[in-house]
Amino acid sequence: MIRELTLPLARDEAASLRAGDLVTLTGPVYTARDAAHKRLIALMEEGKELPLPLLNQTLYYVGPSPAPPGLPIGSAGPTTSYRMDSYTPALLDAGLVGMIGKGARSPAVVEAMIRNRAVYFGAIGGAAALLARSIQSAEVIAFPDLGTEAIRLLTLSRFPAIVLIDSLGSSLYKTGPAQYRSEEL
């Protein structure tokens, strides 16, 4: 069964999701990857205003390919999330409720997720042309000089995702492979 979620995600709803849940996401998300994270954290440390709201918002770790004429965005699959790990706890503590990416997260990120009842979704890496079809609009809202790494506001429409790590700290990367493992370790 696939659960259809609407963004921005209410915190109680985020907390009700469980690792392994198949979902679709509809609504606004903000893109950010390595360079944008670095700048956001620098702004926070200087006490300056951020170019996007964080409270109950969701970040998508993606560096899309350029949009050809007639399409809102190019291919847009997730990038590997661990590169954002050192920045993520501060963003969660500042109100972020959801993240979309691929790959495992650090213990510090998982602790911050538990503390803030947040959720980490996975999009399927490499399904990028298909995922682009679930993005209705894209608009650069900050750091345009970063090109593909600029912060964009995307509007998702039934974007397919999976709950990878839930607000209790349970990870599909642990439970999933364990269930299908048949080797002796």
Binding site: S75, A104, G126, A127, A128, A129, G176, Q179, Y180
Partner: protein, 281 residues
């Protein structure tokens, strides 16, 4: 002596990268569809369904299969009786890549200085060019668009000769297990055994471009490939790393002579978006 204008190389490079970034090879597509058929994990089925639907989405929209259209890697094998005319061969290869990535609306993912500024070069150049020679008048181009989600998970092990077959198998499984979900499984694994510190990875990289389903001609290496594949698929990592039956689509091994004191083993990991192609120029 055959005269060949470098513009022919440029055009071949351009065509090849436009093609491989948009259309997956029939061997990979067949392997992915058979992985979906066999799969019993609902989450992995969800992933594999999207990945196989992605082929049609790319074809219908003209978008690249993956937003990471990779670093462009060119293996150019040149007959020694060929004379290139009309300019610089290396520059022709770079221009072919530049044109493909611009025309295809592909992402430019190359930075100039790897350590300090990391400033994007803006045209996906420089491409990596490996030149080699052979007798005759033919020119063959093999190109790989390599994403770094999987390239980052590739490894080299300088094993002692006594590590033997078991040592090689362990090295492969360790690399795959530590990579986990990061290289976008189901992966294609290239293994380079022997040579030296630079030959082993080169063999491994080339091995990822061998057609899936084709084993090494030496039955001992073919058996090694099969054992490695079985072991990898028993890890349970599965599609997207979320648990499932297919972690790797294929393992290809290549070997080269090495020193009496060593056995380098390189494991080159390629994602399911294994984009490569070959053309004669």
């Amino acid at each position: 002596m055959r005269e060949l204008p470098v513009s022919a190389v440029r055009d071949a490079v351009r065509r090849l990268f436009l093609d491989i970034n948009r259309k997956i090879g029939p061997d990979v597509e067949a392997a992915m569809r058979s992985a979906l058929e066999k799969e019993i994990s609902p989450a992995a089925r969800y992933a594999l369904t999207q990945l196989t639907d992605n082929y049609a989405a790319a074809e219908e929209t003209g978008l690249p299969l993956c937003q990471d259209t990779g670093m462009a890697i060119c293996f150019l094998t040149v007959g020694q009786d060929v004379h290139f005319t009309g300019g610089d061969l290396n520059e022709a290869v770079q221009q072919g890549v530049r044109e493909a990535y611009e025309e295809g609306y592909f992402r430019k993912s190359i930075v100039e200085d790897p350590l300090f500024e990391r400033k994007n070069t803006g045209d996906n150049c420089p491409a990596v060019l490996h030149l080699s020679m052979e007798p005759g008048e033919s020119v063959r181009l093999m190109g790989i668009a390599k994403g770094f989600g999987s390239e980052n998970m590739s490894r080299i092990f300088m094993l002692p000769p006594a590590a033997g077959e078991e040592g090689v198998l362990n090295a492969i499984v360790i690399a795959v297990r530590e990579a986990g979900p990061n290289p976008c499984p189901p992966i294609v694994v290239g293994v380079g055994i022997g040579g030296d510190f630079e030959i082993a990875p080169l063999l491994a990289k080339r091995a990822t471009a061998r057609p899936l389903g084709v084993h090494h001609p030496d039955p001992r290496y073919a058996a090694l490939e099969q054992t490695a594949l079985d072991r990898i698929n028993r890890t349970g990592i599965g599609a997207a790393g979320i648990g499932g039956l297919t972690t790797a689509l294929w393992v290809s091994a290549e070997y080269a002579p090495t020193h009496i004191a060593g056995m380098p083993v390189a494991v080159c990991i390629c994602c399911h978006a294994s984009r490569h192609g070959e053309i004669a120029i």
